[in-house]
Amino acid sequence: MNLSLKPATAEGETFVDLATTPLRELNGALHKLAPDTNQTLWKIANPAGRHAIAAGLDAPITVEIDGPVGYYCAGMNKQARVIVHGNAGVGVGENMMSGLIHVKGDASQAAGATAHGGLLIIDGNASARCGISMKGIDIVVKGSIGHMSAFMAQAGTLTVLGDAGEALGDSLYEAKLFVRGSVASLGADCIEKEMREEHKAMLAAKLEAAGILGEVDISEFRRYGSARTLYHFHVDNVSSY
């Protein structure tokens, strides 16, 4: 490997300073890791908001990024745990398949967009279109989310400890939305639904996965879901086809 790395200080640890190592070199090295790699902990310094850091991972490793990242950080992630000690730009964890992404700051727009699986934890706020078209990911936002979040969300859960912006869950399919704070408005075909025991258990499991079970009162959350009037064929709409 040709990375300009400091010597590893502990077994399995690799340091990469993006002030001196080209990002392509880092991502290339991460992509080459074998499933049974011993290089299981990567510490990345000086990300400086660069785009696509640790995108496309497919190995059971942990990547800790010390600072703010740009667009599409950890996009398409499989298996890996990616921890961002800072804010994340547009599309963090977009199209994630599995694994964990933990943003210790705020996330910009379209966090977790189209993602199929895994867990995305955002300690701060997420802005507009959080979880747009999500397809199975679990997203836990400890702050608030912006407008048009969970737009056309198909599967998975979006849990928000703060407030939600305008048009939450517009054209929603079967994703489940749990919001503790206020919702500025609901999008087309999104309605509040009863919070039954099974939903409380589901929410508790997501909070536990995010490490905050017991820190918030589950009874304060409301559940939102699809009214299912938009995606089933209805004979009254036959002339529209």
Binding site: A48, G49, R50, H51, P68, G70, Y71, N87, G89, V90, G105, D106, S108, Q109, S127, A128, G146, H147, M148
Partner: protein, 293 residues
């Protein structure tokens, strides 16, 4: 896609470095807008004098022009700046039009200087020696043209009133209608560029008595389309995003400055950024800072 940057200093200590800081921000935004660039810097002014920024064809002899009109012109590549007593502004403008019809007055104000050219933003900044400029605040733009041609006239910032300028990332859908409204109100929009219409709209509102903040509030109702605006006035600095927030924006605030950029990368080199409050400006919310003298 375009890149926009802005830096508004709250304390005098960074003023000598304003140009250098803005220059590195513009440099990083080259890949959001490689076809042209521009910036406005609010530097020193002399009470009772107005600064005129001139732009001429390559090779314009600004020194000779200054000698002819009796006011020295400080040349920076294709641009020159001269300072004239307010009472003589009209006379000087008339003399310029007569003596050098190819030279245009592209900016005027107590403190604002405005530079823009076609070319890679990093090169444009070097040609004008942006890194040597000082001042209280500055805004800049790197352009990837979508709505009109790649020309110097089509580059940002746009200035349509004294000490007023605007940079824009996005595209307006109702600029033709607003352009007609402004024409009826006697405001001349000289280019085909939709962003100049936004600048002139704000000038129109402020001419009617609005503060910059109020003018930006009104634009939420009157301007339709995608926009992130960063606007400068003699003492103020404003930011506005459209209600859908189509175009990216990130800001950083410390005790020393407020900074704006299309992407965090452009803020990463600012002093004290590690401990700055970094936030994404909310859609349809007017952000406005004023540094009253």
């Amino acid at each position: 896609m375009c890149g926009i940057v802005g830096l508004f200093l709250k304390q005098p200590k960074l003023e000598p470095e304003l140009g250098a800081l803005l220059s590195q921000m513009l440099d990083i935004m080259c890949d959001r807008g490689p076809d042209s660039a521009g910036f406005a810097v609010y530097g020193a002014g002399t009470p009772g004098f107005v600064k005129l920024t001139l732009r001429g064809p390559a090779g314009t002899d600004f020194a000779a022009l200054g000698a002819e009109i009796g006011h020295p012109v400080i040349a920076r590549d294709t641009h020159g700046v001269l300072s004239v007593p307010v009472a003589e502004e009209a006379t000087v403008r008339a003399a310029l039009a007569r003596l050098a019809p190819a030279v245009k007055v592209v900016g005027a104000g107590a403190r604002m200087e405005l530079y823009k050219e076609v070319g890679l933003p990093a090169d444009v900044a070097k040609r004008f020696k942006l890194e040597t400029m000082s001042g209280t605040h500055a805004i800049g733009h790197t352009r990837m043209a979508t709505e009109s041609a790649v020309t110097t006239d089509g580059a940002h910032p746009f200035s349509t009133g004294p000490d007023q300028c605007l940079v824009h990332n996005g595209s307006l859908s109702n600029h033709a209608g607003v352009r007609r409204l402004l024409a009826r109100e006697g405001l001349e929009v000289t280019t085909e560029n939709d962003s100049e219409v936004a600048a002139a709209y704000l000038t129109y509102r402020m001419r009617g008595g609005d503060s910059l903040g109020e003018a930006l509030e009104h634009s939420l109702g009157d301007l339709d389309g995608f926009y992130t605006f960063v606007v400068g006035t003699e003492s103020g600095f404003g930011v506005l995003r459209d209600p859908i927030a189509c175009k990216p924006a990130v800001m950083a605030e410390t005790d020393d400055y407020v900074a704006f950029a299309s992407e965090y990368r452009a803020l990463a080199g600012l002093p004290g950024i590690e401990t700055a409050r970094v936030f994404e400006p909310e859609p349809a919310k007017v952000y406005f800072w004023d540094r009253a003298a």
